[in-house]
């Protein structure tokens, strides 16, 4: 068994990167991800890893350098948050389209304006269509475990896609928690040696990345990219099974909590799931059959499996820590997509909570569960999308 430590989310993920020892890391500082890369940069300065660190002038350049290094043949990682991820945006699609398995912890933070450094999911939700795999983490432990697994998933020969590992800014990235580290040798063995399939530095077999492909084949390349995404699910489960053998910690496509016999449920991502579980326990004590579903893999989204897990419910509240202005919250839209296939559809409502790091408190979860109880009893939904935790 590995060491048990008290560390922040950033510290834990930096430790995972140290254990994995990527070939290249190109990064630009941005709160709250700065601290993660700063810690990793110290490992480089202290000679604990032999990663080539490329200090660039922007996140756009950071992702560009990662793409170059990954195409060249290296195992590559970076990290970012918020505006940094937004600035990488056009390069994200290139990393995915070129099928480069770059791993990027995203320390979730709100987007400007107004300027705000605290946690919400607007940044990674804005990048959900970029072709990257997205894993979400409730705790520092999950962020660490997801980071280790992300390399195996991204680099899997059937996949070869970049992956983001998301955790909540400050709430997880800067809070000290109990984390169980895996032994260095076990991590090394788990992720294995990395071998790029088409490295640019293989000079005997010259090749080109990033050609112009117009109306005659672009559509087919996208068809192929869609196909790869359909294979990710099985790889994620396969890697999780190996991970469980090594650590005893179980991961799936999503986590359920007291959901099997539940009548009402909250669907929520990342750290707010913890608070919700506590509130659910209180409601269970009162005899109310409440449960929770917390997606781990948001891209690709496991529609069928989630539909199966939710199909017996009467009413569901999807809590989004991001808004699609003029639309429903991004997680809500996906849950509706999943629920569509259920014959006897549960009622689904959408709550937008916690933007810009606004605390998500038990009373918010209580109000949502009370509303769900009402909906389950009457079958009547008053309002589909609503902000909660808004100050008077």
């Amino acid at each position: 068994m590995g060491k048990i430590v008290a560390v922040t989310g950033n510290e834990a993920v930096a430790e995972a990167l140290r254990q994995i020892n990527p070939d290249v890391c190109a990064a630009y500082p941005i709160t709250p991800a700065t601290d993660l890369m700063q810690r990793f940069a110290s490992f480089i300065s202290d000679g604990k890893v032999d990663t080539e660190m490329v200090l660039v002038e922007s996140e756009h350049s950071a992702m560009s350098a990662c793409i170059g290094a990954s195409a060249a043949g290296g195992r590559v990682a970076t990290a970012t948050s918020s505006q940094g991820l937004a600035l990488m945006w056009e390069m994200l699609f290139i990393a995915a389209g070129d099928r480069l398995p770059i791993v990027m912890p995203v320390v979730n933070r709100a987007l400007s304006a107004p300027l705000n450094i605290h946690g919400d999911h607007s940044d990674s939700m804005g990048a959900r269509d970029s072709g990257w795999i997205q894993l979400y983490s409730e705790t520092a432990q999950e962020a660490y475990d997801n980071a280790v697994q992300a390399f195996r998933i991204a680099e899997h020969l059937d996949i070869r896609l970049p992956a983001m590992v998301c955790m909540d800014g400050f709430i997880v990235s800067h809070s000290i928690e109990r984390v169980e580290y895996i032994e260095d040798a076990d991590v090394k063995n788990f992720v294995g040696e990395y071998k790029q399939v088409n490295p640019l530095l293989d000079l005997d077999n010259p090749k080109s990345y990033g050609p112009l492909i117009l109306t005659d084949r672009y559509h087919e390349y996208k068809r192929a990219q869609h196909e790869v995404m359909t294979k990710v699910k099985n790889v994620v489960l396969e890697v999780a099974a190996d991970f469980e053998k090594m650590t005893g910690r179980k991961y799936g496509l999503f986590e359920t909590y007291r959901l099997d016999d539940a009548e009402i449920a909250i669907v929520i991502l990342n750290s707010a799931a913890g608070t919700t579980k506590d509130t659910i326990d209180e409601y269970r004590d009162k005899g109310i059959k409440a449960g929770l579903l917390k997606p781990r893999m948001f891209r690709p989204f496991p529609y069928e499996e989630i539909a199966e897990a939710l199909k017996h419910l009467k009413a569901i509240a999807v809590l989004d820590r991001a808004d699609s202005f003029g639309g429903y919250g991004p997680l809500f839209s996906e849950i509706c997509g999943a629920v569509m296939s259920i014959d006897k559809k549960p009622a689904v409502i959408n709550k937008i909570y916690g933007l810009g790091g606004r605390d998500y408190l038990p009373d918010q979860a209580e109000k949502v569960l009370d509303e769900l109880t009402g909906i389950a009893n009457t079958g009547k939904v008053n309002i589909i999308k609503e902000y909660i935790g808004v100050r008077e």
Partner: protein, 97 residues
């Protein structure tokens, strides 16, 4: 049965064959055609340097005819050509005339 095209494409649109640009005959794009007037040519090879498509052939240090498989008719060579005593050694003519 043959696999559909999208299954046969190399992952990530990587081009695995070196020098494959030679297969792309850009000459078909041409609507204007450069004409070389040899008596006005001073062999400065500006045309060879400036041509973006390597369509000016050179042999033994002297320029020869255009390679119309690749010449797009952009007119850069005609613009840059100093010619002799104010008379251009390259003029652009409408294709097909």
């Amino acid at each position: 049965m043959k696999e559909p095209l999208w299954k046969r494409l190399p992952a990530g649109s990587v081009i695995l064959e070196a020098g494959s640009a030679a297969k792309f005959k850009t000459g078909s794009w041409r609507s204007m055609r450069p004409k070389w007037i040899e008596e006005n040519c001073i062999q400065c090879l500006f045309c060879w340097i400036y041509c973006p498509d390597m369509s000016v052939t050179v042999k033994d240090g002297k320029r020869g005819e255009f390679n119309f498989d690749y010449c797009k008719g952009c007119g850069i060579c005609a613009l840059e050509c100093p010619g002799k005593k104010g008379n251009k050694a390259i003029v652009m003519e409408e294709e097909g005339k």
